[in-house]
Subunit: 394 residues, 2 copies
């Protein structure tokens, strides 16, 4: 009774404050953008390229109210809203994107697209082109014959999507983790087109440490015999290796405070002491196993390898010296990060800011609080909602 | 010429200061300790148990000048000195163990032994009993039928070794990483026997985060089809999976400052742009691949899994509540750690100190400097040599 009374009060307060209720959640539709042919930055041709995208809000007449949201490694274009009212969860940044929210869809037209080689190749809500796609020239999946693509390619395809919609200016580009790499790349490659940049939990280049960890992430896939050099589309996919790879990503994107605070030394099953058998697990092991396998089932192993490669190859500007791209950025930058990040270390984020700022480009850094490490850039983003709203202006 | 003159002066100064020259390096001999039968803490029986050990210095008449050195996860009993003058490198803590050094072998009798299920089962200088050993009852390697052993079992076997030598008191127990877990366990289990404890880069229990990472470390082995449920001694061992597991350990024990300062974005091979092929690596990837495979060749995959399990199961005292063992410690503790440690986080180390100190046991904490992360507890230990010397007293 107390619970329902409190809930009732909350609903009343939400209505008074003009906040949208759950029943009024943003309903979004996944669309598909197609290109007959796309030439990668390295010069390879991809035919019949298709990527999924979705949008929140409406473009204004001048089409100058557009915000592009770029997604993280294991993410996709579903940044906000629900596909239907029955969906269990909305998109990953729903806490800041929507009517009246920090990224206000009553003001802005917010667009998000699936990247090339998107991890969720088997997710029915993802449309992507990559090694799991059919090569029109052979009628078979590309496998490892798919050309190596880069963060810059992700940006180029997004640019073509925007052009197809008549959009030539971006009020802002914002993204978390791998999404921040795309945001830096956008601002470095097309400084006249990008008016604001919000890179979240990411730095301006993949450093030696990240390159090495991406290698570690990918390793279990290549150890799995079902991977078979990437040629598995006629048989069993390397689900076991892929699940282990996704486990590493899941744990690495968290923080020890979460691991210890949530699980500590709890056993997976009461009465099944981990000391008694290799089959008896600690709870955190069982949870990671379950999460890895669940994600593996909608993912493709070769796509994982291509994504890892794209991230390793990244440095803003994609060409020239390491810092040229960052120095080319002219738009004001709002960098959001957390000192608990174990993937993109805070010192590197601050160094990125120092480079961009060195020729007069304004950079502001916000630090997130939380115990989820890297992941706080996704699940804890609302705590800097007011600052994002102010940075975006009108 | 300048170089040789400077070197000449250094030699003269070393002689004047009474320091040992390289030519006078400690020469050590590996010995073997055997037990006809050993009953594990969980009640399983291991027959014909054999472990290697070595010692530096000489016991005094009362045998009360003994310091036990316990080794880390991928280490063994070779803590100091060389087996022959031609050896390329001495034992891992040679910078602090030897005549006139911080752990002065002119004063102390320093003993170190290979643990049970030691990783280096194929290293000719390691003697250990574990899943790769022949089960006397079957005449075949145990594989995964070997009993699960714990850090406490490592301690119990060391105790029997000491007893066989007539040693009933330890002037000190000291060890790095998994060696620190053994040091805590010694002091918790046998407070009347241990006079001083020096745990280096480790905390008083395996927390949820470490449990999860040990699972991640072990995963590639189990994905390798050659692992075959641990039954591979008649065929090809799971070398590929084991090499990947050792790569994770190697990187995790380092720090991003090392990865970036040493390798950055350098390519493995000039002219082989990583953007052009999945076979073209960054230098840090190639170095980790090489290190992983080199270590895999002298290691055993099942031993790795048993070691990971032993570490997961660890909390000081091995029974009762989480902190009981730490509270049982009565010997003064010198904890040495680094804030750059990504395996045993500094907060957990400090919490361990707080628990031990809470009932009046004196604890001093020293912080190492360096850019090698966890590994600085092995390679950077000499920087606290003076404090170790003072703590050990006479």
């Amino acid at each position: 009774m107390l619970g329902s009374r409190v809930f009732g009060a909350a609903v009343v307060m939400a209505i008074m404050a003009g906040q949208p209720l759950a029943a009024q959640a943003l309903i979004v539709e996944k669309k598909v953008f197609e290109l007959e042919t796309y030439t990668t930055v390295s010069g390879a041709t991809i035919k019949d390229l298709r990527i999924g995208w979705e949008a929140y809000g409406e473009p204004n007449a001048a089409k100058d109210n557009v915000i592009l949201v770029t997604h993280y490694f294991s993410g996709n274009s579903h940044a906000a809203g629900k596909y239907s009212a029955e969906d269990a969860r909305p998109g990953y940044w729903d806490s800041i994107i929507g009517p009246g929210k920090a990224v206000d869809t009553e003001k802005f037209y917010v667009i998000s697209s699936d990247t090339l080689v998107n991890l969720g190749a088997k997710n029915p809500k993802v449309t992507t082109t990559g090694p799991a796609s059919i090569d029109p020239d052979t009628g078979k999946p590309y496998g490892m014959t798919f050309p190596i693509v880069t963060i810059r390619d992700f940006v180029e395809v997004q640019k073509k999507l925007l052009e197809s919609l008549g959009i030539t200016k971006l009020h802002a580009v914002m993204g978390a983790s791998m999404g921040s790499l795309q945001a830096y790349e956008w601002a470095a490659a097309y400084p006249q087109m990008v008016e604001r940049v919000i890179p979240v939990i990411g730095s301006g280049w993949a450093d030696g440490n990240l390159i090495a960890w991406l290698n570690i992430w990918a390793a279990p896939i290549k150890v799995d015999p079902n991977w078979n050099g990437g040629d598995y589309y006629d048989g069993e996919p390397p689900l076991k290796g892929l699940a282990e790879s996704l486990k590493v990503v899941t744990l690495h994107a968290q923080h020890w405070e979460w691991a210890n605070g949530t699980f500590g030394r709890a056993w997976a099953d009461k009465g099944q002491d981990p000391a008694a058998s290799f089959d008896h697990l600690y709870k955190i092991e069982a949870v990671l196993d379950g999460a890895g396998m669940a994600r593996a089932k909608t993912s493709d192993a070769n796509h994982f390898l291509y994504l890892a490669k794209a991230n390793q190859l990244f440095y803003a500007g994609h060409g020239g010296s390491l810092f040229e791209g960052l120095l080319a950025i002219e738009a004001p930058v709002l960098m959001i990060h957390t000192d608990e990040d174990l993937i993109f270390f805070p010192e590197e984020v601050r160094e990125t800011a120092a480079v961009i700022r060195s020729d007069g480009t304004p950079v502001r850094i916000l630090e997130l609080q939380g115990n989820r490490g890297h992941l706080d850039g996704v699940i804890g983003i609302a705590q800097v909602g007011d600052q994002i709203r102010a940075f975006l202006g009108d």
